[in-house]
Symmetry: none
Subunit: 226 residues, 4 copies
Amino acid sequence: MGAVKTKRMPRAVREQQMLDAAVRTFGQRGYMAASMDEIAELAGVSKPLVYLYLNSKEDLFTACIRREADALTAAVRAGVRRELPADRQLWEGLGAFFAHTSQNPDGWSVLHLQARTHGEPFASEVAAMRAEIVAFVTQLIVAAAREAHRDPDLPESEVAGLAEALVGAAESLADWANAASGVTARQAAATLMNFAWSGLGNLMDGKPWTAPDAAHEASGQTSPAR
Amino acid sequence: MGAVKTKRMPRAVREQQMLDAAVRTFGQRGYMAASMDEIAELAGVSKPLVYLYLNSKEDLFTACIRREADALTAAVRAGVRRELPADRQLWEGLGAFFAHTSQNPDGWSVLHLQARTHGEPFASEVAAMRAEIVAFVTQLIVAAAREAHRDPDLPESEVAGLAEALVGAAESLADWANAASGVTARQAAATLMNFAWSGLGNLMDGKPWTAPDAAHEASGQTSPAR
Amino acid sequence: MGAVKTKRMPRAVREQQMLDAAVRTFGQRGYMAASMDEIAELAGVSKPLVYLYLNSKEDLFTACIRREADALTAAVRAGVRRELPADRQLWEGLGAFFAHTSQNPDGWSVLHLQARTHGEPFASEVAAMRAEIVAFVTQLIVAAAREAHRDPDLPESEVAGLAEALVGAAESLADWANAASGVTARQAAATLMNFAWSGLGNLMDGKPWTAPDAAHEASGQTSPAR
Amino acid sequence: MGAVKTKRMPRAVREQQMLDAAVRTFGQRGYMAASMDEIAELAGVSKPLVYLYLNSKEDLFTACIRREADALTAAVRAGVRRELPADRQLWEGLGAFFAHTSQNPDGWSVLHLQARTHGEPFASEVAAMRAEIVAFVTQLIVAAAREAHRDPDLPESEVAGLAEALVGAAESLADWANAASGVTARQAAATLMNFAWSGLGNLMDGKPWTAPDAAHEASGQTSPAR
DNA sequence: AATGAATGAGCCTTCATTCAT
DNA sequence: GATGAATGAAGGCTCATTCAT
């Protein structure tokens, strides 16, 4: 069970085997429930060797996060052709994202669930990657607006929220696609593009939504608080 | 620190104190890292009493999830006036949602992070609540389309994806608002309504997005896979 | 479940209910595995009342031992007609013994297993009862020998061992009869009487056993040691 | 106190040390009262090592039972010369039995008291060993009858009861000899052989016991019941 | 390069027992 | 006469981590 027990491998190879085992174990059992024993066995090595190479459980988990974060951003980057217009870039990026998360569910679980759930120093590790992605999306949104000949001076704060919402929706759809088998990466990407590009407005053309004037709705005691 | 150590309370009261302490501890430390010792101390009681009333760590956590899930759905329900049009209902619901999550960050952490991360039986507990919310949103979307005199026969599957994306965006914005202090519940709700209602299209009117024809884009090896 | 919860009983009655519950619980779960909680519930009272009346788990168990020991010796005594010859008295005593143990398996378990297994002060409590029974049997053996016109000056030590063996056999057969349903008290008594009265010798008339002369068997390295 | 704390022993050795400590502790404190802490300390190791090698308290106890049961049956087997007549074999077997139990009182306590008192899966473990011994005794009885030229077709059920009684008497005498110091294994064996071979009848030759006819003794209400 | 042997520390859980009413 | 509320103490078990080879 686990990797075949071949002896005397060069360090780099062994380390990857360990990280493979660790990502799989962390992804499936969770960070705390995963035991170093299980990881070592799955990697086909003894526990002291894991410590020799990766130092501690915390360091091992951090290494997993970094490797998976790099793999994910690399996959997205590789999936995007920069010479295309912004909307096409977004489409391709989402496709690459969903493809990667669905092919690598343990890694996705490590990044999206485990790392965020178990506090520092893991949370900020993955937050860095997420910030990178949000920045990329933000830039695409700005570029798209410019390409549409709109005023490029969109309020930063506004765009930040939109990018955040878009990325959050993508994360959620990744889980959804992974859980509900039958939804492909392509479908998930299309769903999100439709949502992102025209919103629900495409369901009711010409009826844009406008925030109610706070002054006029004071009658209801249940209007959005704070 | 912790609740004032008042002795001899009726059971119902003590139980709530324990749940308060548990939600706080689970929310901050995480399910596994939280120790029953810490929870008991924070509740101002001895550990055996926690076990006498709540049975086990698992049962205690489940009780937390149920209480917080009920509180969240109740808050949203109470924030929505059913007699209003669908878009207004959504606006109010989002406002109530963001208000509740920002006022109750530990409960939100329990529901959104901890319960989902630590497998059964917790995951399905919170999945039930989420399904309820997704259903509510789905129904609002359908109602909105009908109110806009559009064909109400929207493909189920399409709407399901949209609702999923919308809820995912909301969850993500809740975290964002909680983290980046300075964003109010109202602002978060407005950002999401804008995004949901008109998408990014409002940034570039008249240029709706359309999925590229797969046959024509075969040149790039990195187009959305699968 | 357990005794019907009738309130305000006189103390003596309540105590017996508690002892009933305790004997049953101790007999079935064992002394250590039995919890005061379970006993109190089975007795239909609250735990503090058990402590009020019986003081501690140790005292409660001791009370059980005493009650069951008295019941057992009383049953044997009541079963024996002193005016009969010794062999008939033994026969009746064994019958009464097996009848009692089979009708009262929890009590028998308390006496024969639990009390002996859990050290002082319980072991000596039940040892006292056992000594009484051994003494009774010893006296019967001596009487039987006298009635048979044999020299009544049997060596004490010899008779003591025989009585011990007889009582041990009886205890063992009581367990055997309780376990292997199908063996009645009467059958068990008959089996033991046969064994005790004529030994296995009745299977091979006229071939009494005689201890080998130690001097002559020195050749074997495995003769009874010490 | 306890084994000298020698470090870095091969597993097999350490395991035996642990079993030694466990038998001693279980035998003296009882299964439930014995703590893994105490056993580990007596064995001169840390608790986790006990768990690493023996898995759980239950497994540890089972291992003790098996080891002691094997040791006891091996001792008896080794003490018996099969080429001798049945009565001599019984004599030697009893001698070996009493010798072993007196030299190994903790093991005997584990087998005779602790294992039987604490339910499954322990009870059946020791029941298997006891059944083996009973079978051996049964076969000796049958052989003895055959050697005495008696009809070898003794009723099975009759012999079963006799063997049970004999083994029970032996068990009881083992306790007796262990408690009343001054009785040697040899003396205990002789006492039991006398009892078993000629019964009490040797005290009163020519007066065999016969079961009273049930029909004729109806006068007493206390005759052997059931 | 690699591992068998070993442990300090901590966690979940339970129990006998008592206080205040 | 009777009980709901509460706890100190301990026990089984597991884990991340290290030493000596």
